[in-house]
């Protein structure tokens, strides 16, 4: 490949330069970049809140910030990271950019709705930022009633409206993906030839459309209860706070699969591309995404084991929660088996994939502690939970997101990035991450409750380690920002297929033209076959 060739004369980036050509674009690739900028802003906003939290927890007393401020910090950290970063991160950026290209379509089925969903996201974000600026919210991202409906005197309604609005952005994205996958696939691209990235996003979209409306109505009811004194959740008004928890977790548990499933899809692509080998057990990996999405809707009650839910309900939710582990385990084993007899390169995206597999394994297995009824009694609402879900959300979702950003960066921008720096940043993030959240498992079992501005002195040593790790982690996040920006002008051109990978997205120029493909391609085989087929076992 001749890397000195200039970028193709017309691509989606140079097809119009004005502000209007971006803000009114219907091109899924440009919308993906609009999302990229906005979620990056929210990521660093959420990161700032995390920084304040970690610095405050350096000492047992509330000395850096008052408990009131601390409570607002962890609330805003959760709200921003969950609703404005993790949920839209991979689907709205990488999914938006790649899904149509991967299935050989010119765009998503509803380009205008796609743009609308970004504006809705921004509007919801503005509400939430307004809530943060005008005094903050102190309910925790879970908005548990009756604290949120009656006791808190912070900006619950404003933040709730922000989340309500943003929910529709998520719904519209999911709707667009589902219709696109069903109706826009290129000729020859059968369901079992689809890239696993597409399967994962399809499963994610199912959760988005089936779960998000329930959280929307729930936060709306919280706002109505605060504003109009409707008695829905507050016992003092005749309501039932457990009902809030049921409605909240009906969405918010599956929502964690919105965050992790797309990352699993990314990792499946990375493992195949950098082993130059088709996935081991394609159908099992594909269906495990659907299984996670569906079973994920049946397990929410494991958040209510100590909340006064009935004992029998606890049993049912516990055993179904165990079942979610099975498709997750199937995925991990299949990714591992894919590397076997591959041609493994150690490029930075693959390092993120290695990190993902290991950290997700820990995150997933520690989740079983919490699904185990007796164990959860002790661990519920301690730092063990914090550690567990950060292993899944950061070690899983963010590692997947960063791995994907590195893998597809040449496709998105047409340029490579400095590989040495990328490897360094990856290592930095891996070390910083483990140092931040590893100690929290221990301090959690010791009994340190979450959401504590002040804590007992015997927990301090672990908190100091955690804060030290967070500092390293924070630096690790900044490095890619710098070299990605630098690469836009200075890095070598990538060409259409810099990794020697297979898949439709590598058969169009980098950056792709606005129409993706001049003519709709006709797919002739599964998208990840590298070597001639050799039958071992079954497909």
């Amino acid at each position: 490949m001749d890397t000195t060739t200039a970028t193709p004369t017309l691509n989606y980036l140079n097809n119009g330069y004005g502000l209007k050509s971006w803000l009114l674009t219907k091109d899924h690739k440009r919308i993906a970049l609009l999302y990229l900028w906005s979620i990056t802003a929210f990521f660093f906003l959420g990161g700032f809140f995390a920084l304040v939290i970690r610095l405050e927890l350096l000492t047992p007393a509330a000395d850096l910030v008052q408990p009131d401020t601390y409570n607002k910090m962890f609330t805003m950290h959760g709200v921003v990271m969950v609703f404005f970063f993790l949920i839209p991160s991979i689907p709205a950026v990488l999914g938006n950019f790649l899904l149509p290209i991967m299935i050989g379509a010119k765009d998503l089925a509803f380009p205008r709705i796609n743009l609308l969903s970004w504006y809705i996201y921004v509007l919801g974000g503005l509400f939430t930022v307004a809530a943060a600026i005008t005094g903050g919210v102190d309910t925790g991202w879970t908005f548990y009633a009756p604290y949120s409906t009656s006791a808190s005197n912070s900006n619950v309604i404003l933040a709730g409206v922000g989340i309500f609005i943003t929910g529709f952005s998520s719904i519209l994205t999911g709707l667009n993906f589902i219709v696109t996958v069903h109706r826009m696939r290129a000729p020859g691209l059968t369901w079992f030839r689809l890239p696993l990235f597409v399967w994962a996003h399809y499963a994610t979209s199912l959760i988005m459309i089936l779960g998000t409306p329930v959280i929307a109505i729930t936060v709306l009811l919280v706002a109505a209860e605060r504003g109009l004194h409707l008695g829905i959740f507050d016992p003092a008004l005749g309501g039932d706070p457990i009902l809030f928890q049921h409605l909240f977790w009906f969405y918010s548990h599956p929502a964690v699969y919105i965050m992790i499933l797309p990352a699993m899809g990314v990792v499946a692509e990375l493992v195949q591309a950098f082993s130059r080998k088709n996935i081991f057990g394609y159908t099992f990996v594909a269906f495990s995404s659907l299984a996670i999405a569906i079973i994920g809707f049946l397990v929410w009650g494991h958040h209510l084991f100590v909340a006064g839910q009935s004992t029998y309900a606890g049993l049912v939710f516990s055993i179904i929660s165990m079942f979610v582990a099975i498709p997750s385990a199937v995925k991990v084993f299949n990714w591992t088996a894919t590397i076997y007899k591959g041609s493994v390169s150690w490029d930075s995206p693959m390092l993120y994939a290695f990190g993902f597999i290991g950290l997700f394994t820990i995150g997933g297995l520690t989740g079983l502690f919490l699904a185990t009824l007796g164990m959860d009694i002790h661990m519920h609402d301690t730092y063990f939970i914090i550690a567990h879900f950060h292993y899944v959300m950061v070690g899983g979702a963010i590692f997947g997101y960063l791995g994907g950003m590195h893998y597809w960066w040449p496709k998105i921008t047409g340029r490579m990035y400095p590989e040495g720096w990328a490897k360094f940043a990856c290592l930095n993030i891996f070390v910083g991450f483990n140092l931040t959240f590893g100690p929290q498992f221990i301090v959690g079992y010791l009994g340190m409750p979450r959401r504590y501005a002040m804590y007992s002195p015997e927990f301090q040593v672990w908190n100091v380690l955690s804060t030290a790790g967070a500092t390293i982690l924070g630096v690790g996040y900044l490095i890619p920002m710098i070299y990605f920006t630098w690469s836009l002008k200075n890095a070598p051109l990538a060409g259409a297929n810099p990794w020697g990978a297979r898949g439709l997205e590598w058969e169009t120029p980098s950056p792709p033209p606005t129409e993706n493909f001049a003519v709709t391609p006709v797919v002739t085989e599964g998208t990840h076959q590298y070597a001639p087929s050799r039958e071992v076992g079954i497909v």
Binding site: R276, F280, A325, K341, L368, G374, G447, P449
Partner: protein, 315 residues
């Protein structure tokens, strides 16, 4: 020992040993599979690393045998976790009969405990060792959660209803008491100490408190003050049901259903008298919602309970 690097909380209750055993099993499973995956990934990544730029991997499509293997083995292991965890859970949610009862009320931001014989304490809880203790808990405002890490027990304290938990302390000492359900500004200050004492010491400590009489006495006074006694007569001629001897017994409702008179039912009947009316009576009792505090409710419950058991409720 690692005094500066504590790894495990003390085990100071009968339950703690069960939880720890389960914990070590789960840690072992986690360590084994994490190591397995990490080693496999590392070995494959090194052994099969790319030798030249045009090399591709072998085409292997999969293996049904392996897929079944790594479906069934995790399924088996998780089922062990489920059954084991459920056993522990059942044990922990069912207080043994005859457990010593203590009433606890959570409010922003303190824990108030009331012993049956009237001793009261704030952000402190004194319990004897070697004897099951059942906490009957209510909240005056938002959801709190009562957590004693050294005992490995926890339960949410929910406004509008009562919740229970129980433990048997085994080791004398002072242990942390934390609120673990986020409840507002001073959530992290809603902490206290649980003191486990030798039974004799505990009796001595009790003797020092309880100036205002037993909880049932306080409840009896409220029963008069709130004019409950004008309808709930002992002779069966009143407009409300006789309460003597009713605790722990089933009663038939207007709807034909039967409920057992327990703490939760008494509480509901005081606050929502119309919800479950006893057969043969009119739904004329006014609600006492907003007129009695959570603590007074618990005193009234203790009083009704003492009527049901002439020997006294603490036995």
């Amino acid at each position: 020992m690692f005094t500066n690097f504590p790894f495990f909380p003390q085990a100071a209750s009968e339950q703690a040993g069960q939880i720890d055993a389960l914990y070590f099993f789960l840690v072992a499973v986690t360590a084994f599979f994490t190591a397995l995956i990490a080693i496999l990934v590392a070995v494959f990544a090194v052994k099969f690393r790319r030798k030249h730029d045009t090399e591709v991997g072998e085409a292997i499509h999969g293996s049904l045998a392996l897929e079944l293997l790594w479906t069934i083995i995790p399924l088996g292991i998780t089922m062990v976790m489920f059954v084991w965890g459920a056993q522990v859970f059942f044990h922990m949610t069912r207080p043994p009969k005859g457990a010593m009862e203590i009433y606890v009320v959570g409010k922003q931001w303190m824990w108030k405990a009331q012993h049956m014989d009237g001793a009261r304490e704030i952000n402190e809880l004194h319990v004897p060792i070697g004897r099951p203790v059942k906490l009957i808990m209510g909240s005056e405002d938002v959801i709190h959660s009562f957590f004693i890490p050294e005992f490995r027990v926890k339960a949410d304290v929910i406004p509008g209803r009562l919740n229970t938990m129980w433990f048997t302390a085994t080791k004398p000492g002072r242990y942390h008491l934390f609120c673990t359900q986020y409840c507002g500004t001073k959530h992290s200050a809603m902490i206290g100490w649980v003191t486990a004492m030798e039974p004799a010491e505990y009796e001595a400590w009790l003797g020092g408190g309880g100036a205002g009489g037993t909880m049932a006495d306080a409840g009896a006074k409220l029963f008069q003050d709130l004019a409950c006694a004008t309808c709930h007569l002992d002779n069966g001629q009143g407009r409300g049901p006789v309460l003597k001897g009713v605790y722990g017994k089933p009663v038939t409702l207007q709807t034909g259903q039967t409920v057992t008179v327990d703490d939760a039912y008494i509480r509901e009947s005081i606050l929502m008298p119309q919800a479950k009316v006893v057969a043969g009576f009119q739904p004329i009792m006014p609600t006492f919602q907003g007129l009695v505090t959570e603590e007074q409710l618990l005193q009234l419950i203790a009083y009704v309970k003492s009527l049901g058991d002439p020997q006294g409720a603490t036995k």
